[in-house]
């Protein structure tokens, strides 16, 4: 009786678990396990100067890997950073034939910077000569939420070995655990439902003029018109203020300094021209984090970056403080994302000051 009970349990349990694993592995909405043909096509399309329509909910880190692997032409300028830098496009600062690519990934961490650099070194055996790094305060927060940064961990580990760094101050999660993750199962069910309704079609096209929103062939994001409702944005920020703020929650100490400095030192040693970009926060949000002791570390990060940049002769563009560049509420989509004009204005301001830079 007991033996039969155990047998029934084990068989049923493993059938259910195996079905979940097979389902998650096959649907794999974020391409965690398999490189989707779709993702390879996007990467190839981007490298053929095409634009991508309807790209959402994809594995942006894996896409960067595929883009770099499919690059035929040497890249002169790259941008590293999070979605806060996604609107940085070539036209804002380069008019010549130099090639630029924006490698932004959602919630970028230092591991992501290291991974992109490793991909250039391993795949093409060179480093772009100019690197613009959009520095978000959370890259120094070891308690930040984890994204899928570990997907490219083999590459970030490569750079870490190069920099003789033993380990990061956080531990990436094993991606195979996603096979048994209820959250990922839900995400896959949603993805499948959308796909069945045909809501998830991605187009790779040459002519952008018929489309409003797309991913440019330089990796940046183009949005024709932003629909901003400041009341809604403020309401969202008010809610955030009273709960916890993604990425900068539990941020009490500047971590990862050593790895950051070793990384920049390495780039400079390789003769790479490094530029730091600090993008402003929404004024309403900035007022709050400036006053709240839990988030005052954001300003400490800015001070640290400015000091470090000065000591190492690195240009710093922008500030987390929106008032420094007279950015009002109308320039923001939410607490941390400015519209395209924000980065455009910042770049232009420095370009006017010093025409020789980027």
């Amino acid at each position: 009786m007991n033996k039969k009970f155990i047998k029934n349990f084990i068989i049923t349990f493993f059938i259910l678990i195996a079905s979940t694993i097979v389902f998650n592995y096959n649907v794999d909405s974020l391409s965690i396990f398999k490189m989707k043909k779709e993702l390879t096509d996007i990467a190839k399309g981007i490298n053929q100067n095409k634009i991508i329509i309807g790209l959402s909910n994809s594995n942006d880190r894996l896409l960067q890997k595929l883009i770099i692997e499919n690059q035929k032409k040497k890249v002169d300028y790259i941008a590293l950073g999070s979605s806060r830098i996604m609107y940085l496009q070539k036209e804002y600062f380069l008019k010549n034939n130099k090639k630029f690519f924006n490698h932004w990934v959602s919630g970028a961490s230092i591991e992501d910077y290291l991974s992109i650099i490793a991909l250039y070194l391993k795949t093409h055996n060179y480093l772009p000569k100019n690197i613009l790094i959009g520095i978000d305060p959370w890259i120094f927060n070891k308690n930040r939420e984890k994204n899928n940064s570990d997907i490219l961990s083999v590459y970030s580990n490569f750079t870490m070995r190069l920099l003789k760094i033993k380990k990061m101050e956080n531990t990436p999660q094993n991606r195979y655990k996603e096979l048994l993750n209820w959250e990922y199962t839900k995400e896959n069910i949603k993805y499948l439902k959308n796909k069945l309704k045909n809501n998830n079609t991605i187009k790779i096209v040459t002519n952008p003029q018929f489309y409003d929103n797309y991913k440019n062939s330089d990796g940046s994001i183009h949005v024709k018109k932003f629909n901003l409702n400041q009341n809604l944005i403020k309401h969202h920020i008010t809610k955030l203020k009273n709960t916890y703020i993604p990425y900068i929650d539990r941020f009490t100490k500047i971590n990862n300094k050593q790895i950051f400095e070793k990384f920049i030192f390495y780039l400079k040693e390789q003769d790479v021209n490094v530029t730091f970009i600090l993008l402003p926060y929404h004024p309403y949000f900035y007022d709050f984090i400036e006053k709240d002791s839990r988030y005052s570390i954001v300003n400490d990060v800015e001070k640290y970056i400015n000091k470090y940049a000065k000591q190492n002769h690195i240009q710093v563009y922008g500030s987390y403080n929106p008032y420094k560049f007279n950015f009002t509420e109308k320039y923001f989509l939410d607490e941390m994302h400015g519209i395209d004009l924000v980065i455009k204005k910042i770049i232009l301001k420095y370009k006017q000051k010093d025409n020789s830079v980027i």
Binding site: N2, I6, F9, T12, L180, E183, K239, Y244
Partner: protein, 468 residues
């Protein structure tokens, strides 16, 4: 290795289970014991292999001392016992209390001695206490002579190594020695798996969900409104119970797979009608240890009321200190000591109380004292308690800011209410050890709990008692 990890449930546990019974089936009884010790040490080292020598040295030392009581003639056994207990406590003190001691020296003497910042070796409080108990029992002549392999199993047996239950050699050794326990017992396996799945569900689904509210709340104690403050304190009260009792269920379940019955550690503690009743139901093996090796040796209740109160207070302050090196833990122990003394006086005076009122007072006392147990410091604890009774914040409540600071929704109170119902009206998991029946209802509930918990394993959190 955590009980609530994929590595443990799907790799480690099945491999150890099959190899252990394979060796037993081949009549390689010593090899199977040695394998179990090896597996347990592997389990322990998974976290940090650097601590492995520490537990090995501690085992060798205590085993040698324990054996010397019957052989030694030159030095008095009492001197050996005192020396060995001091040695054990020094080891624990060095790793667990050195910084606390230095901080207080600095505070009192206005010095600035550098802290040692030692990492606390996993399970040190548990294996130290277990071995002190063994030494005292050996000194009293209550132990038999065991070989090192048996002793090593007693200390390292992986289901209870990290966070208890704190076991006595006399309840473990005969079980390891019993040859009938070397063959697979399907009733024990089925019951063990069922109890394990209850524990896993308690930890992964209930405790970890309450943890989200408790963690945010305890980070923001100064700005909470009255509802948030109560949600925070009650969430922690249930997190701690479901976390630790979940861990214990998993330990009991895993041990049953090897035909080993661990003592129960929780007996519906939140049903308690008095603080004395609570301590008979909460972390029972620790209470047993404190009673047998501190309270009774101090004199227990044999030397008059005043001495009894002193002994109670000393026992609970030490119990508080055992949980953590901090004044908040000591204060928590002190509060429980005070409550026990009041309860004793109440009984002596012959007062009685309505059961519902008794439960209400006991539960709320426990809930409020857990605030000192959990808070990072006194300021944070006092802020939370103040806000739990700050009626002025009621006027400021709006639909939007109701539970904003804890990032929660009103349904948290539904969960808290359900948790109260669950812990006060239902039978606890221990009852299933004897009543388990391999029928369809059990199979369905077993599958459901195990499946839901397994699919939520990826966001596992460490067990709270690993820190103690």
């Amino acid at each position: 290795m955590l009980f609530n990890s994929v590595e443990y449930i799907f790799i480690f546990l099945p491999i150890v289970f099959f190899i252990y019974y394979y060796l037993n089936a081949k009549r390689l009884l010593n090899a199977s014991k040695a394998f179990l010790v090896f597996a347990s040490l592997f389990f322990y080292s998974w976290w940090n292999v650097a601590y492995l020598p520490l537990i090995l040295i501690s085992m060798l030392f205590n085993y040698t001392i324990g054996n010397s009581f019957s052989k030694n003639k030159k030095i008095s056994n009492k001197s050996i016992l005192i020396f060995s207990v001091i040695a054990n406590l020094s080891l624990l003190g060095y790793f667990k209390y050195a910084d606390f001691f230095i901080e207080n020296i600095n505070l009192v003497s206005n010095n600035n001695i550098d802290l040692l910042h030692l990492a606390l070796p996993l399970a040190i409080s548990f294996f130290t206490f277990q071995q002190i108990a063994y030494l005292v029992d050996s000194y009293r002549g209550e132990t038999k002579e065991y070989d090192f392999l048996n002793y090593a199993i007693f200390v390292t047996f992986f289901p209870q190594l990290i966070a208890g239950p704190i076991v006595h050699h006399k309840e473990m050794m005969p079980q390891f020695a019993n040859t009938r326990n070397k063959v697979k017992n399907y009733k024990n396996i089925a019951t063990g798996l069922f109890i394990f799945s209850i524990g896993l569900f308690k930890k992964v689904i209930i405790a970890d969900h309450f943890a989200k509210v408790a963690n945010i709340g305890y980070q923001n104690t100064e700005i909470l409104n009255i509802l948030e403050a109560w949600a925070t304190s009650l969430s922690y009260t249930f997190q701690l119970y479901f976390d630790f009792s979940g861990y214990t269920d998993m330990a009991i379940g895993a041990a049953l797979l090897f035909n080993i019955k661990l003592p129960i550690n929780f007996n519906s503690p939140y049903k308690a009608l008095s603080i004395q009743d609570f301590w008979r139901r909460w972390h029972m093996t620790l209470s047993r240890f404190l009673k047998d090796y501190i309270y009774i040796p101090l004199g227990g209740n044999r030397k008059g009321n005043l001495k009894t109160y002193n002994n109670l207070m000393a026992t609970f302050i030490l119990g508080g200190l055992w949980h953590g090196a901090g004044w908040t833990f000591i204060f928590w122990g002190f509060l429980h000591g005070v409550a026990l003394i009041i309860h004793r006086v109440w009984n002596i005076l012959g007062f009685k109380m309505n059961k519902i009122i008794a439960w209400f007072i006991t539960f709320n006392f426990i809930n409020i004292t857990w605030v000192f147990f959990r808070a990072d410091n006194f300021t944070s604890a006092i802020n939370l308690i103040k806000n739990m009774f700050n009626l002025y914040t009621i006027e400021l409540l709006t639909k939007e800011n109701l539970l904003m600071h804890i990032n929660s929704k009103p349904k948290i109170f539904v969960f808290i209410f359900l948790a109260i119902l669950l812990v006060t009206t239902l039978k606890n998991s221990n009852s299933f050890i004897d009543k388990f029946k391999p029928n369809k209802l059990y199979l369905f509930s077993f599958l459901l709990m195990f499946l839901i918990a397994t699919l939520n394993l990826n966001k596992y959190q460490i067990f709270l008692y690993f820190n103690f």
